[in-house]
């Protein structure tokens, strides 16, 4: 029983991070129809800038957190403006390959900026770990869960209640029609990139205190986030959250009841099964058709 609870805690902590990353994938996909394989690198940039700002510049944590998210969002803006918008024939596959190239570039730059060693970051609050029926829950896990929930709710409200949010949804449904009714679609796409990158940055900033961060951490996390987004259904925010948590919990249970060697395998087998039986993901709508 004690172990089961511990597996669940571990799974939910990791899963919440996967969920935020998946959310970034998902929202960019629903706004632009693009899968950004550089998304994992935004996670890395978020984690490393948080460490630089809070440990290097001694800024208070909330400021460092906001700063790292803003810097990551700016990186997203740059990516869209410099690499994506200028493409002459924006065929989806071309854009996807551009994002793969961008991820290699970002990783290289990060290696030059932060070096090859791992860096660490203190937790957000210095409470002692909480004991729940013999299992340990880290205060940072609660931070992660709470902030993830805030992000989803914020995104939901933004899309439903705000004019800009609705304009973004309209652009996603039909870019041409949105343009005809006077929505500045270029700016909407730019905004979608910035927001998606910011979510990557939040994911990175959340995970920095429980893990060690280095320039090459983005690839694995990006893949896991992508996996979670696919499981939940690309384009669905709640699907991304559900997919992330499911992936995290299954990984932890895989470690607990099968073998720790099968941890990553269990995640990817799950992805294959879901793609096979429900290609749109668990919560995706079957009508979504963009390519």
């Amino acid at each position: 029983m004690q172990e089961l609870i511990q597996y669940l805690f571990s799974g939910i902590t990791n899963g919440a991070v996967y969920a935020v990353i998946a959310l970034g994938f998902s929202m960019l996909y629903s706004s632009t129809g693009l899968i950004n394989f550089a998304h994992g690198e935004f996670v890395m940039v978020g984690a490393l800038t948080l460490i630089s700002l809070s440990k290097g510049l001694n800024l208070p944590l909330p400021v460092a957190f906001a700063g790292s998210v803003a810097i990551t969002a700016a990186a997203g803006l740059l990516l869209e403006r410099l690499a994506i918008r200028n493409v002459r024939k924006p065929h989806p596959i071309v854009l996807v390959i551009i994002t793969v190239g961008a991820s290699i570039l970002v990783r290289g730059i990060a290696m030059l900026c932060w070096g090859k060693d791992s860096l660490n970051c203190p937790p957000y609050s210095n409470h002692a770990p909480i004991d729940v029926a013999g299992a340990t829950l880290l205060p940072q896990s609660i931070w992660i869960l709470a902030l993830t929930l805030l992000v989803v709710i914020g995104l939901h409200v933004f899309h439903k209640r705000f004019l800009t949010g609705r304009a973004m949804l309209a652009t996603a449904i039909s870019r041409k029609a949105a343009g005809v009714v006077g929505i500045p679609t270029d700016i909407m796409v730019l905004l979608a990139f910035a927001m998606s990158a910011a979510m990557g940055g939040i994911g990175g900033a959340l995970i920095a205190p429980i893990s060690m961060s280095s320039f090459d951490m983005g690839m694995t996390l990006g893949l896991k986030g992508f996996c979670a987004a696919m499981i939940g259904g690309l384009g669905s925010s709640w699907g991304a959250i559900f997919g992330g948590l499911l992936l995290g919990v299954l990984e932890a249970l895989g470690v607990g009841f099968l073998s720790s060697g099968l941890k990553d395998a269990s995640a990817f087998v799950l992805l294959l099964l879901i793609l096979y039986f429900r290609p749109t993901g668990l919560m995706g709508k079957a009508t979504v058709q963009r390519f």
């Binding site: 990791n14 280095s214 694995t220 941890k263």
Partner: protein
């Protein structure tokens, strides 16, 4: 046009140098020795200090008058941790640069890859990698200066046995280093009367190991042995403290660097690990034959490169000095050099005291590792 100009310039420069060279009086022709290290890439933490240490050793030898009047000259290539590039470098060194011996490569896969090349060329090799397969079975031309994992496992198990611990749980990283550690731990445990109650693994990039630790805790071991390189073991150390697991935690020599303490912070306190003596040089007894070598290496390295000294550069430093010792009286004959290395007896190096025999081309004994405990962020030697 520009390339054509550059070519002509280079050709002219080469001509000038060639006509000048014989005119200069350099005494005897220098001995050329090669180096292959993973200077950049993921394993640069090994290759970079190794390259620096080899250059330092060569300067020391030359400052002392060289070998039989011959100066040493190093040709060093970077293999980026890639076996293919290591093979190319070895081919260049043996055929183009015509070196008489090679120090390196830094890693087990790269070392194994270059062995066929150097055997074909008949060039002796002193590898800086840990893998036992490099020198077992013994190959006439191949030696190595890094400690085998076997010795590290023995050091840990000796300590565990002394503490009267019978049941342990092990947690190893999913890469070549962890696999080798797991193999040795499982193979040697019965010899020490130790039972491994649970063997778990973790990914090199995993962010949270509480699930594995919960499983290990449930198996109720009396100690946990973790085998990995940074950052995984630092995360595990933190998780152990967070989960309030009270049994002693042993780490491998893979984390024996100041970086580990920096990453694990206060969670590093009380952790036990085997390490080369370099981390605890000042705590060694005056009678230790390595103490003077270690002090010399540490001061000179820090003075020259103004960076903290670690244990890895010592592999290349020892390799170069062993080579220098073997070069005496050979006039650069490759077969004689290889044979001379085998005769080296009781050579105090940075990593340990080397005594090579026809059946042992690593030459290190139990004294290559000492057990230390981390206390208040400092290494403390256990007697």
């Amino acid at each position: 046009m520009r390339t054509a100009k550059t070519t002509i310039f280079c050709a002219l420069a080469a001509l000038v140098i060639c006509t000048l060279l014989p005119g200069m009086s350099w005494g005897k022709e220098p001995y050329k020795i090669g180096g292959i290290f993973s200077i950049t890439g993921a394993s640069s933490f090994l290759g970079d200090p190794e390259k620096k240490s080899m250059e330092m050793a060569i300067d020391q030898i030359n400052a002392a008058g060289g070998i039989d009047g011959h100066m040493l000259e190093a040709v060093i290539y970077d293999d980026e941790g890639d076996p293919t590039k290591a093979v190319l470098a070895a081919q260049k060194l043996t055929s183009k640069d015509e070196v008489i011996a090679i120090v390196g490569p830094s890693l087990t896969p790269t070392s194994l890859a270059v062995i066929p090349v150097i055997e074909k060329a008949g060039t002796p090799l002193i590898s800086c990698a840990a893998g036992i397969k490099i020198t077992e079975p013994v190959k006439p031309l191949v030696y190595k200066t890094a400690q085998n994992d076997v010795l590290a496992v023995q050091a840990i198990f000796n300590h565990i046995k002394k503490a009267n611990i019978k049941k342990i749980g092990i947690l190893t990283v999913e890469n070549a280093f962890g696999e080798s550690g797991k193999e040795q731990l499982t193979a040697q445990a019965p010899k020490f009367g130790i039972e491994i109650v649970l063997a778990e693994t973790f990914g090199a990039k995993d962010t949270d190991m509480t699930a594995q630790l919960a499983k290990i805790r449930a198996a109720q071991p009396e100690a946990i042995v973790c085998w990995g390189t940074n950052p995984g073991p630092a995360v595990i150390s933190k998780n152990v403290v967070q989960m309030n697991i009270k049994v002693p935690l042993y780490q491998s020599h893979g984390v024996a660097s100041p970086k580990f303490i920096e990453l694990a912070e206060s969670a590093a306190d009380g952790i036990l690990l085997p390490t080369g003596k370099i981390l605890v040089t000042e705590q060694l007894s005056e009678t230790d034959s390595q103490k003077k070598v270690l002090q010399g290496y540490t001061t000179e390295f820090q003075k020259r490169y103004s960076m903290p000294v670690g244990g890895f550069g010592g592999y290349a430093y020892d390799g170069t000095h062993l080579l220098a010792a073997a070069l005496k009286g050979t006039e650069g004959d490759k077969a004689k050099i290889a044979a001379n290395v085998e005769k080296i007896n009781g050579f105090p190096g940075v990593t340990g005291t080397f005594t090579f025999t026809p059946t042992d081309h690593n030459g290190l004994g139990d004294d290559a590792f000492v057990m230390v405990v981390i206390k208040d962020g400092k290494w403390q030697l256990l007697k």
